[in-house]
């Protein structure tokens, strides 16, 4: 089992599209569109475009990211730990992760969808595993992507569930670190928080909420663009049935 190098090359255009220059162009287009459309969303769109432009002009691509998010979930630390510890579950709530194949007790192979739906692969190993309390993992030193993560489970003092805190780090050095940084966007915190939100839903409700693939009327040009924002369409895997672990299910 060796990493597939062939699918990792990027052409210059797709890189530039995702650079801050590209974002500036996109933001300007959004502003223009928002201003000309004269509808109820026009103001919001134009404002969003303006903010994006401001952001893009101010910041540069992060070469590394270190983010953390915490959610209180209505489940015991044991239940939360169990769902997370089986890494094959990760793809069910981590948005960019297409699959995680468990190779043995501590090793796994990750496939992540990067920009333009390109597959990026790496191998990870679990470096710390304290039952019902903490799991830490990192990519193997010879991986093309240098990443590590950990998750902690702490019971609420009054028994109202478990605080689940996830930390994810992407560090420079790997050949693909810039691609990863692009994928994480300007706000990597957002991705971690959304993943954790989906973990909570999976744990409590047994599924993550979705409108992906639902019926709708003709969307038009503007609507088709916003479908992505509103997650009615996208590259996510179809939701899967899961056992709800919560106290009442």
């Amino acid at each position: 089992m060796t990493p597939q190098h062939s699918q990792l090359s990027f052409d210059r255009d797709s890189k530039d599209l995702l650079s801050s220059k590209g974002i500036l162009v996109g933001a300007a287009a959004l502003m223009a569109y928002g201003i000309t459309r004269r509808s109820k969303t026009s103001l919001a769109l134009a404002t969003a475009g303006g903010l994006m432009a401001l952001n893009a002009s101010r910041s540069h691509n992060p070469s590394h990211a270190h983010t953390r998010a915490t959610f209180l979930v209505n489940a015991s630390p044991e239940q939360a730990y169990q769902l997370w510890r089986d890494f094959s579950n990760l793809a069910r709530f981590m948005r960019h992760v297409k699959s995680v194949e468990v190779l043995d007790e501590t090793h796994s192979e990750w496939v992540v969808l990067g920009p333009m739906d390109r597959e990026i692969r790496w191998y990870a190993e679990i470096i710390e595993d304290v039952k019902n309390e903490r799991i830490s993992w990192r990519s193997r030193p010879d991986s093309l992507v240098q990443t590590s993560g950990s998750v902690e489970f702490r019971p609420h003092r009054a028994g109202r569930g478990t605080y689940v805190s996830a930390t994810v780090r992407y560090t420079p050095g790997g050949k693909l670190s810039k691609t990863i940084a692009t994928m994480l966007g300007k706000h990597p915190q957002f991705m971690v928080r959304e993943d954790l939100r989906r973990f909570k839903a999976l744990l409590e409700a047994g599924e993550t909420p979705t409108t992906l693939g639902q019926s709708h009327g003709p969307r038009g040009v503007h609507g088709s663009v916003e479908q992505v924002l509103f997650r009615e369409t996208g590259n996510l895997a179809a939701p899967q049935a899961a056992q709800a672990y919560s106290k009442t299910a």
Binding site: A205, H216, Q227
Partner: protein
Amino acid sequence: MKAVCWMGKENMQVHNVPDPTILNPRDAIVRITSTCICGSDLHLYDGYVPTMEQGDIMGHEFMGEVVEVGPGVSRDKLKVGDRVVVPFTIACGNCPSCQDKLWSCCDNSNPNAWIAEKMMGYSPSGLFGYTHMLGGYAGGQAQYARVPFADIGPIKIPDGIPDEKVVFLSDIFPTGYMGAENCNIRPGDTVAVWGCGPVGQFAIRSCFMLGAGRVIAIDRVPERLEMARAAGAETLNFDEVDVLEALREMTGNQGPDACMDVVGMEASGHGIVFAMDKAKQMMRASMDRPIVVRQAIIACKKGGTVSVPGVYASFIDNVPMGAYVNKGLTMKTGQTHMMRYMQPLLERIQNGDIDPSFVISHVLPIDQAPEAYKTFRDKRDRCTKVVLKPWESAMAA
């Protein structure tokens, strides 16, 4: 299937769209037999609520027959063939909010929670046929609908009760009831209710059910005031009288024990402040015209309660905070926690305490929905409530 689609401001269209399918394990598909246009749909029709998108299927008040259930729905909860009313709020049943019976604040039912969090801090539940900020779920003004978490929301209706008596369990009857419950009514209390639309009518009747001695109903549409009087309310027409002065007189300079805003963001009124609100809203500098909630705060008795079942979308200004604080008022709000009320209110209907069908003015085939929106919005043709029949073709209604 046929579905009523939002295609832009004041532009509803009936389109043929694909039938819904099961997307999640706890989904069900309902074949809709009756569906209604709600006053809150008019806020979308008028284009005042952000994150609507062209092609969105409208509707959050519907009932019908279950035709398919997902593998995650246990058969003792719901099965094919069950006749159900579907609540407009979507709730998972297992999150901390649902466990506290704050069903309309479910943590897990809004796939676009992050958008709502930007505006509200934390996201309320997903809703059918409303904005994408609140989930963007396809609604029920259609022939079929997909119902997420179908083992929690829908309530089974025995055969023998016509749709018209129970369909309002989907929203407006529980919403009016919760608005009244939020008034903290003690026996004999006086409650002032702004807005005599369909929710207001149920709110007025619920106040009496909960022991109110007097209900003073405020509106300007003659047939709606008439309907309020039929329920036993005293009425004020705000085009004809100064509401604050009239309430002062009627309550002996005390003020109503509770004041209920069943109007929300598109209130009408008089004077310079109303003109400013209207201008701000037209310029999209504000989404809301909060005339009623201001008036309710000023009108309310010291130590009283202001209950707000009316819909607001964003920020409001010129709120008389000084009056609110110095009079020691309480404000109670919220989208309706549907699952608290559906069963008890179904029992009230079965007991004959109330027949909710009194509020219906129009029963129309779904093809006539676009005109029905306009009629309802303009309050023409004595329109108080429209029920749509998705399977009847256009004919003399």
